[in-house]
Amino acid sequence: MNDWIAIGALALVGLLIPLGMMAVSYLLRPSVPETSKRATYESGEVPTGGTRIRFNIQYYMVALLFLVFDIETVLLFPWAVVYLDAVESDAVSLLEILGPMLLFVAILMVGLAWAWRNGAVQWAQTPRQLASGDDRQ
C-alpha cells in the first residue's frame, strides 16, 4: 500500500474529526442573536477604526528573509542525505563533498550578516539609531 494513501487517509480523518465536532456543536449550541454581542473585542471599549492597520515593516522584512533562507535549506537537505554515504565511499575526497556546502553556508551567512547589520532583523530602533537620521524601512 502506498504511503501516501495512508497519509491521505489521515488527512481525511483529520478533517472529519473537526467537522464532526462542529456538527455536534451545531446540534447542541443555542443561538441568541444580538447586535452588540458581535462587536469586536477591544477590552471593553467601543471599537475604533478598521483592522487594516499599518503594522511594523519588520514583519515584511523577516518574511522576505525567511522566504529565502527556508528555501535554501531545501537545497541543503539532499546534500545532508547523501553526505554520510559520500564520506564513507572513497570515490570523493572530504573536501569535495564538504567544500561546496561550506561555501554555500558561508554565502548564506554573508547574506545574514548583511541583513543583520543593515537592520533587517532588528525589531525596533534605539533612539540613537533614530537620531542618525536613517529611514531604513
Partner: protein, 508 residues
C-alpha cells in the same frame, strides 16, 4: 601559451572574480553599513570588473578553450554544466567591459544616494550572473545564471525608491521578467520531457540519434517557449515592451548595464542553446520546421518595430531604449543566419556587434546619466545646445550616435557591415530580406540619432542653464567608451577574428 599551469576551476576566474567582488562588497557593507565611501566602493566594483576583464582577455590571448590542433574541441569544463570556451570568454569580456564602465560612471551618479554598497554589490552580482550565462551549457545552469542576472537587475531598476518612474520601471521589468522566466522554465521542462536531458550536448545527441521521435510537438513548443525567454532577456519582439519603460525609469547607468551587458548575455545563451542543443537538421526533422525561420521573423520584426518606435520619441532615454530594441533585432541576424553547414560569419558578426554595442550604447546611456546628473531634463529639446557648455561630452555623444547609426568612421560601421555581408553571403531569400531590412532600418536610425546630435550641437538652448560641472567618474567612463568606439574601428581585426573563431568553434 600560459607559462603557469592553473587548476581547471581557474578557467572560470572571470566569473568567479565577479562573484568574489560582489561578496566582498556585501561583507564591506555588513562591516560598515550605510557607508558612503564612494571611492572605495566604486573602486572595488570597477577593480573587480577590470580584473575579470583582464583575466578573460588574458585567457583569450593565451588560447584557453580554443580547439586543439588534433581536432579536439578544447573547451574546459570545470564543473558539469559550466564550460569555458572562446564563446564564453568573448562574452565574459563584453560583460566585464560594460560592468567596469558602469561602476566608474556610477561613482558620480550615486552621489548622495543611500544604498551605495548595495548598489554596487547588486551590479556585481548581476554581472556574475551574466558571466555565468556566458559559460553555462546546461539548461539548469543557464536558468540559474539567468535568474542570478535578473533578480539583482529588478532591484537595481527600482533602486531609486522615492522616484516613481524608477519604481514603476522596476515593477514592469519584474512582472514581465517573472512571466518570461516562467515561460522559459516551462520551455525547459518540455525540452527535458522530449529528450530526457538538460545538458545541451546530451539533448543534441538524443535528437541526432532520433531517440526523441514522437516528441516533436513537445519539443517544438518547448523551443518556442525558450525563444520567448531569450526574447525577454534580449529585449526582442515579442517580449520587448518592458524595455522602454524599464530603461526610461531606471537609473541611467543601470539602463546602460541592462541594455548592453544583459542583452549580450541573453544572446550568448541563445547562441549556445541553439547551436549546441538543437542541431538544425535533426530538429527540423523532428518538429517539421526550421527554427531559424522564427529568428528571421523576429529579427525583422524587432529591428523594424524598435527603429520605427524610436523615431517617434521625444524623450531621449526612451529613444535610446527603443533603439536598443532595434539593435537586438540586428544581433538576432546572427541566429537567423545559421545554416546546417555554416553561418559562423554571420554569428560572429552578431557577436562583434554586441561587443561594439557594449561601448557605444553604454556610452550613450552614460551621456543620459550625465544629463540626469546635471538635471537638464529628459526631452530632445531639453538637451538643446549642451555642446556649448560641455563640448567634450557632446563630442563623445556624437561618436556614440553615429556609431550606433553605423556611419563610418566608427566601430559600429564595421559590425553592421559585417552583419550585412554575413546576411548577404548566406544568400537565401529570407536572409536577403533581413539584409534589406537591416539597410532600411539603419538609414531610418540615422534620422533619429542625428536628431539628438542636432539638438545637442546645433539647436539653441530653450532657456539659460547655469554652468555644468564635470563629474570625474562619468566623464572618464564616457571618454573611455568614446575612445574605444573610435579605436575599435582600427583595432577591429582581433575582435573580428575572436568572434568568428568563437562562432566557428561553437558551430563545429
Amino acid at each position: 601559451m600560459a607559462v603557469l599551469e592553473l587548476p581547471e576551476w581557474a578557467a572560470l576566474a572571470p566569473a568567479l572574480i565577479m562573484v568574489a567582488t560582489a561578496l566582498a562588497l556585501f561583507v564591506f557593507d555588513s562591516v560598515s553599513p550605510r557607508s558612503t565611501n564612494r571611492s572605495l566602493l566604486a573602486g572595488t566594483a570597477a577593480g573587480g570588473a577590470l580584473a575579470s576583464l583582464a583575466v578573460a582577455v588574458w585567457y583569450t590571448a593565451a588560447g584557453v578553450g580554443t580547439p586543439t590542433i588534433d581536432g579536439g574541441r578544447g573547451e574546459i569544463e570545470p564543473i558539469h554544466g559550466l564550460v569555458v570556451d572562446q564563446l564564453a570568454l568573448y562574452f565574459m569580456i563584453v560583460v566585464a567591459i560594460v560592468t567596469a564602465l558602469i561602476a566608474v560612471a556610477s561613482y558620480d551618479y550615486l552621489a548622495g544616494h543611500t544604498y551605495q554598497a548595495e548598489y554596487y554589490s547588486l551590479v556585481m552580482l548581476a554581472a556574475s550572473g551574466m558571466s555565468l550565462m556566458a559559460a553555462a551549457n546546461s539548461l539548469v545552469t543557464i536558468f540559474i545564471a539567468l535568474e542570478l542576472a535578473s533578480l539583482p537587475s529588478y532591484a537595481l531598476v527600482a533602486i531609486l525608491k522615492d522616484n516613481r518612474g524608477s519604481v514603476e520601471a522596476g515593477l514592469k521589468y519584474f512582472l514581465i521578467g517573472a512571466l518570461s522566466s516562467a515561460i522559459f522554465l516551462y520551455g525547459i521542462s518540455l525540452v527535458y520531457g522530449a529528450t530526457g536531458h538538460l545538458y545541451l550536448a546530451d539533448i543534441a545527441a538524443v535528437l541526432e540519434a532520433g531517440d526523441a521521435d514522437g516528441f516533436g510537438g513537445l519539443l517544438g513548443l518547448g523551443i518556442l517557449m525558450l525563444i520567448g525567454g531569450f526574447a525577454y532577456k534580449t529585449a526582442s519582439v515579442p517580449f520587448h515592451f518592458w524595455a522602454p519603460e524599464a530603461y526610461e525609469g531606471a537609473p541611467a547607468p543601470i539602463s546602460a548595464f541592462l541594455s548592453s551587458a544583459s542583452k549580450a548575455a541573453g544572446f550568448v545563451i541563445a547562441f549556445r542553446v541553439f547551436t549546441t542543443a538543437f542541431p538544425l537538421e535533426a530538429t527540423q526533422e523532428l518538429i517539421g520546421i526550421d527554427w531559424t525561420i522564427a529568428f528571421v521573423i523576429l529579427a525583422i520584426a524587432t529591428m523594424t518595430i524598435g527603429n520605427f518606435a524610436a523615431a517617434t520619441q521625444t524623450n531621449v532615454k526612451r529613444m535610446l531604449a527603443y533603439s536598443s530594441i532595434g539593435h537586438a533585432g540586428y544581433a538576432l541576424i546572427g541566429l537567423a543566419g545559421l545554416t546546417a553547414d555554416g553561418g559562423d560569419l554571420v554569428m560572429g558578426a552578431a557577436m562583434m556587434h554586441l561587443l561594439v554595442y557594449g561601448f557605444m550604447n553604454t556610452g550613450a546611456f552614460l551621456f543620459v546619466a550625465l544629463a540626469e546628473h546635471w538635471g537638464v531634463g529628459r526631452t530632445f529639446e531639453d538637451y538643446n545646445g549642451l555642446s556649448a557648455q560641455a563640448p567634450v561630452a557632446c563630442a563623445a555623444l556624437v561618436v556614440f550616435m553615429f556609431s550606433l547609426a553605423g556611419v563610418p568612421p566608427f566601430a559600429g560601421f564595421w559590425s553592421k557591415y559585417f552583419l550585412f555581408t554575413g546576411a548577404i553571403s548566406i544568400g537565401t531569400t529570407a536572409m536577403l530580406a533581413v539584409a534589406a531590412a537591416l539597410v532600411v532600418n539603419s538609414a531610418l536610425s540615422l534620422y533619429y540619432y542625428s536628431r539628438l546630435v542636432k539638438a545637442v550641437l546645433i539647436e539653441d538652448p530653450l532657456s539659460d542653464r547655469g554652468a555644468l560641472d564635470q563629474p570625474t567618474g562619468l566623464y572618464a567612463a564616457l571618454i573611455v567608451a568614446a575612445v574605444m568606439t573610435v579605436a575599435l574601428l582600427a583595432g577591429f581585426g582581433p575582435i573580428a577574428e575572436a568572434a568568428t573563431d568563437a562562432a566557428a568553434a561553437a558551430l563545429a
